[in-house]
C-alpha cells in the first residue's frame, strides 16, 4: 500500500512538472483528432495496438476509460496515459506510445458537387478537400470561400489562388474544419441550371462596396466584382464594350461621389495611361449616348445623308475627304455617289463624283475644312411617281412610241441605246428609222434625226450614234397603222420621208417611205394597181436633186419575166403614177399605138406591141364591117421609111398564107376601105355616070 502511494505521489509530481514546463520541442507533434496512436506495453495485450483519437479528442483505454489527448504534445500525452493506466497496471513506465497515422476530419459544404464529411490525409489542403468533395459546382463564388473553425471564419480568395498558384492564400486545415464554398448571387434564389454566359453579361459583383457598376451605352451593363488592378478599360471590356451610339468622349466615372470625365477616344488615340481615371471599389461608370449634346469642335466636319453613320466628326488636321467618308461608315447602298455635295460654311457648294474618282476619271478629292458639310444624296429611283426628284440638269426626256416614256436620270457615259432600252424599247409602232433628238444647248435647241434601224441592221461607227446629254429630248415617232391610217396622219409625215403614189391604185396618197423599202412595197401599201391600171406604162418621177427624171416602168413585163431590174430604186420624194387604160387619148403616145381607120367596128387608136399582128389589131378593132373592102386592107408603115402595102384578108382566109401578112408596128396606120372604093365599083359608077350623060345628050339631040 505504501508503495502504491509513493508511486502515485511520484506520478503526480511528474505530472505537475509536465504541466508547468512545456516539454514539446519545436517540432514535437501535437496530437489531433484523427490521429491513430500505437500503444505498446510488453506483456499486456490489451495495451498493445492502435488507438484512434476520436472526434472528441479522446482515446479509450482499457481499465482507464476515455482519456482526452487532442491538443497535447506526444510526450505529455504519454505521461498522462501512464498515469491513467497506473491504477490498473504495474510498470506503466514501459508503456510506449507513438503516432502511427494522422488523418484530418473536415467537412466541405456549399457549392460543391459532393458536400459532406471527409476523412483526408493529415496534410490535406483546402484544394484536396474541395477535390474530394467533387470539386466546385457551377455557380460557386470562388473569390469568397471560407473555412469555418468553431466560431471563427477564415475567408480566402480561392480564385486568386487558381490564378496565381500561391499556396499561402489557402488557409491550413485543422480537424473538424468546414470548408464552405458560397454560391454566386447570379444564381438567384431559385435553383436553376446555371448559365455561365449570363455571368459574363450580368456581372459578378455581389456587394456594392466591393464591386463597380457600369451602365449606359455598353453591351452588357452590370455590376462587376472589383479587382485591385482593374482599370476603366477593363471594366468597359467586361461590360461587352461600348455600343455604336456611345459618346466615348464623354464617359463619366463617379468615384467617391466625385464625377470625373473620361475621354476614351483620346486615350485610344494617344495611349496615354495618365488619361485613365483611377477606378475604385464602389465606383459607377456611365457611358452616355451620342447626341446627348451637340458636338462642335474646332475641327468638326458634318457628314449627312446616305452614309452608315451620319453625324459630326472631329477631323484631325490632314484628314482627307475619303478619311471622313470612311469614318462615317461610307455611303450606303442607296447613296448617289455621283452627286456628293460639299457645303462650305459660306454656303458655296462643291460637287464631287465619287464614282468617277474610283474609276480614275477624277484625279483629286475635294479639300475638307472645319465646318464643311458632306451631303451624300439619296439615289433617285426613276420608277418613283414623283418626277420632281430628278432635276432637269440630270434628266433626259423620252417621248413617243416607247413602252415607258418619261424622264430618266442621265449619265454621260450612257448611250442612246441604253436610254431607249431603259425606256422599255420601241412599241410595235415605233419607227426606229427616224428617231428625233432635240439637242439643247443653252437657250437653243437643234433637232437631229437618227436612223437607229439602219444602224442596227447595217452597223456603223460608234461616233455615228448621236451623243445624248442631260436636258435633251428623244422622240420615237410612230408608224402609220395601215395605209388608210396614213390619210389622217399625213400631216405627221415629213415630205423627206414620204413617197407619192397616184393614179390607178387602190389608195393613192403620201406614204411613209425609207430606203429599206422597194417599189413593190409602196405599190402594195397603196393597195396595188386597180383592174383598169395600165401596168405597161407606169411612170416614176425620180425627183432626186434638181429636176425630176421620169422613168417608165413596165410592170407587166416584170410580172412576166420577174426581172427585178425593171423596178426602179426609189427614194423619198419620188412619185409613182399608174395610168389608167381608159385614159385620154392625148395621154397615150403616138409611138405606142396603131391607128385603125375605115370600115371597122371600132376605128381608133390601139395599143400595139410587136408581138402582135394585123389580125390581132383587126380583132381588137371589132373586125371589118360588112361594107369593108376586105381584099384591100391598107397598112401604112410610118417608120424610117413610109411605105404602104395592101393585104387581102379574103385571100388570107382562104389560103392562110402567112407570108402575105403585113408588118404592123406601133406608130403605123391601118386603113380598111369601103367597098365603094373597089375598082369595079368605080368602073360601074363611071359607066353609070357616062350613060346618064349620053342619055341626056341623046335626048337633047332628039329634040
Amino acid at each position: 500500500m505504501t508503495s502504491r502511494l509513493a508511486t502515485r505521489a511520484l506520478a503526480a509530481l511528474l505530472l505537475f512538472f509536465a504541466m508547468l514546463m512545456p516539454l514539446q520541442a519545436a517540432d514535437e507533434p501535437v496530437l489531433r483528432i484523427g490521429d491513430t496512436l500505437s500503444l505498446l506495453l510488453p506483456g499486456e495485450e490489451t495495451l498493445t495496438g492502435d488507438f484512434a483519437i476520436d472526434r472528441r479528442g479522446e482515446i479509450t483505454l482499457p481499465e482507464a476509460g476515455s482519456v482526452k489527448l487532442a491538443g497535447m504534445a506526444l510526450t505529455e500525452a504519454i505521461t498522462l496515459v501512464r498515469f491513467k493506466l497506473a491504477v490498473a497496471f504495474q510498470d506503466t513506465a514501459r508503456l510506449s506510445i507513438r503516432i502511427k497515422e494522422r488523418k484530418l476530419f473536415v467537412a466541405v459544404a456549399g457549392q460543391v458537387k459532393k458536400p459532406g464529411a471527409l476523412e483526408l490525409p493529415g496534410d490535406a489542403t483546402v484544394e484536396v478537400a474541395i477535390a474530394e468533395a467533387g470539386g466546385v459546382a457551377a455557380g460557386a463564388q470562388l473569390d469568397r470561400l471560407k473555412v469555418v473553425r468553431g466560431n471563427k471564419e477564415i475567408t480566402f480568395d480561392y480564385k486568386r489562388y487558381l490564378d496565381t498558384g500561391d499556396r499561402s492564400i489557402l488557409p491550413a486545415l485543422e480537424p473538424l474544419d468546414i470548408v464552405f464554398v458560397p454560391i454566386s448571387p447570379l444564381t438567384g434564389n431559385v435553383a436553376i441550371e446555371f448559365d455561365s454566359a449570363t455571368l459574363a453579361r450580368a456581372g459578378d459583383g455581389t456587394e456594392n462596396s466591393g464591386s463597380v457598376r457600369i451602365f449606359g451605352e455598353v453591351a452588357n451593363p452590370a455590376q462587376f466584382a472589383f479587382k485591385d488592378d482593374m482599370t476603366i478599360v477593363d471594366l468597359i471590356m467586361r461590360a461587352g464594350g461600348v455600343t455604336r451610339y456611345a459618346a466615348v468622349e464623354q464617359i463619366r466615372v463617379i468615384t467617391d461621389a466625385e464625377p470625373i470625365l473620361f475621354n476614351l477616344q483620346a486615350y485610344l488615340d494617344s495611349g496615354d495611361p495618365k488619361l485613365l481615371p483611377t477606378l475604385k471599389k464602389g465606383a459607377t461608370v456611365f457611358v452616355p449616348i451620342l447626341g446627348d449634346q451637340i458636338k462642335r469642335g474646332k475641327h468638326t466636319v458634318y457628314v449627312m445623308g446616305e452614309v452608315a453613320k451620319p453625324g459630326a466628326f472631329e477631323a484631325q488636321p490632314g484628314a482627307s475627304f475619303i478619311d471622313i467618308l470612311a469614318n462615317s461608315g461610307g455611303p450606303s447602298r442607296f447613296a448617289d455617289t455621283r452627286q456628293i455635295r460639299i457645303i462650305r460654311p459660306g454656303g458655296k457648294v462643291t460637287m464631287f463624283d465619287l464614282v468617277a474618282f474610283t474609276e480614275g476619271k477624277v484625279a483629286a478629292v475635294p479639300e475638307i475644312g472645319p465646318g464643311d458639310a458632306i451631303l451624300v444624296p439619296e439615289k433617285t429611283d426613276t420608277q418613283e411617281p414623283s418626277w420632281l426628284k430628278i432635276p432637269a440638269t440630270r434628266a433626259v426626256q423620252v417621248i413617243g412610241a416607247v413602252n415607258k416614256p418619261g424622264r430618266y436620270e442621265w449619265a454621260d457615259e450612257m448611250s442612246l441605246f441604253d436610254l431607249i432600252a431603259n425606256a422599255g424599247g420601241p412599241t410595235g409602232q415605233g419607227d426606229l428609222a427616224a428617231i428625233r433628238i432635240l439637242e439643247r444647248a443653252g437657250s437653243t435647241a437643234r433637232p437631229l434625226i437618227f436612223n437607229m434601224k439602219q444602224f442596227i441592221e447595217k452597223g456603223g461607227r460608234p461616233a455615228d450614234v448621236p451623243q445624248i446629254r442631260a436636258g435633251y429630248v428623244v422622240m420615237v415617232p410612230e408608224l402609220p397603222i395601215d395605209p388608210s391610217d396614213n390619210k389622217s396622219q399625213w400631216l405627221k409625215q415629213e415630205k423627206e420621208r414620204s413617197i407619192y403614189v397616184m393614179g390607178a391604185v387602190g389608195a393613192p396618197g403620201r406614204y411613209a417611205f425609207d430606203a429599206s423599202m422597194g417599189f413593190l412595197d409602196i405599190l402594195s401599201a397603196a393597195n396595188g394597181p386597180t383592174k383598169s391600171a395600165d401596168l405597161r406604162a407606169i411612170r416614176v418621177s425620180l425627183r432626186g436633186a434638181g429636176d425630176a427624171e421620169p422613168v417608165k416602168v413596165d410592170l407587166a413585163a416584170f410580172m412576166r419575166t420577174g426581172d427585178e431590174r425593171l423596178l426602179p430604186n426609189l427614194k423619198p420624194g419620188d412619185m409613182i403614177y399608174v395610168p389608167d387604160q381608159d385614159r385620154e387619148w392625148t395621154d397615150i403616145a403616138a409611138q405606142d399605138t396603131v391607128r385603125v381607120l375605115g370600115s371597122v367596128a371600132k376605128p381608133g387608136r390601139y395599143a400595139f406591141t410587136s408581138r402582135m399582128s394585123l389580125l390581132d389589131l383587126l380583132a381588137q378593132a371589132g373586125g371589118p364591117t360588112t361594107d369593108a373592102l376586105q381584099k384591100r386592107i391598107v397598112v401604112i408603115n410610118m417608120g424610117k421609111q413610109v411605105r404602104a402595102f395592101h393585104f387581102d384578108l379574103v385571100a388570107f382566109t382562104k389560103t392562110g398564107d402567112l407570108t402575105k401578112l403585113p408588118v404592123v408596128r406601133p406608130g403605123d396606120t391601118v386603113y380598111v376601105p369601103d367597098k365603094s372604093e373597089s375598082q369595079w365599083a368605080k368602073v360601074m359608077s363611071t359607066i353609070k355616070d357616062v350613060g346618064q350623060v349620053v342619055a341626056i345628050v341623046a335626048a337633047i339631040a332628039a329634040l
Binding site: 408581138r611 402567112l658 401578112l661 403585113p662 408588118v663
Partner: protein, 120 residues
C-alpha cells in the same frame, strides 16, 4: 350607019372613062413579112445577135425582160427586112444589139452597125 357610029363612039367613050376610072386609083403593093419569123429563115447576123443576147442573159449581164425585149426587136427586124423596110430593119437590129452593150455586127442590109468607137 351613024347610029352604029354613035353607039361605037359611045362604047369607046365609056371604055375610056372606065379605064380612066380604073387607072386613077392603083392599090399599093401586096404586103409581106408580117410573120416572117415563121416563114423566113433568120439571117445569120440577126441569129448571131440573138445568140449574143442569150449569152448575156445567161451571164447575168442583162435581165430576162431586157432579153425578151431584145428578141422582140430582132423579130421585128426580121419582119421589116422581109417586108423590104431595110432602114427600119437595120434600126431594129441596132436597138437589139444595144441591149447587150453594143457590138459590131453586120446588118441585114449588109452594112455594118457600128456601136463602138472607133468604127472599123
Amino acid at each position: 350607019m351613024s347610029t352604029v357610029r354613035s353607039a361605037t363612039r359611045l362604047v369607046v367613050v365609056i371604055a375610056l372613062a372606065s379605064a380612066a376610072a380604073g387607072c386613077g386609083h392603083a392599090w399599093p403593093p401586096e404586103a409581106r413579112g408580117g410573120m416572117a419569123e415563121r416563114t423566113a429563115p433568120m439571117p445569120e447576123p440577126l441569129a448571131l445577135t440573138g445568140h449574143a443576147i442569150d449569152q448575156a442573159l445567161e451571164t447575168g449581164a442583162i435581165g430576162p425582160a431586157t432579153a425578151e425585149a431584145a428578141h422582140e426587136r430582132l423579130v421585128l427586124a426580121l419582119r421589116e427586112s422581109d417586108a423590104g423596110l431595110d432602114e427600119d430593119a437595120e434600126a431594129s437590129a441596132l436597138a437589139a444589139s444595144m441591149t447587150i452593150g453594143g457590138a459590131d455586127i453586120a446588118s441585114p442590109a449588109g452594112r455594118q452597125t457600128c456601136l463602138k468607137a472607133p468604127c472599123k
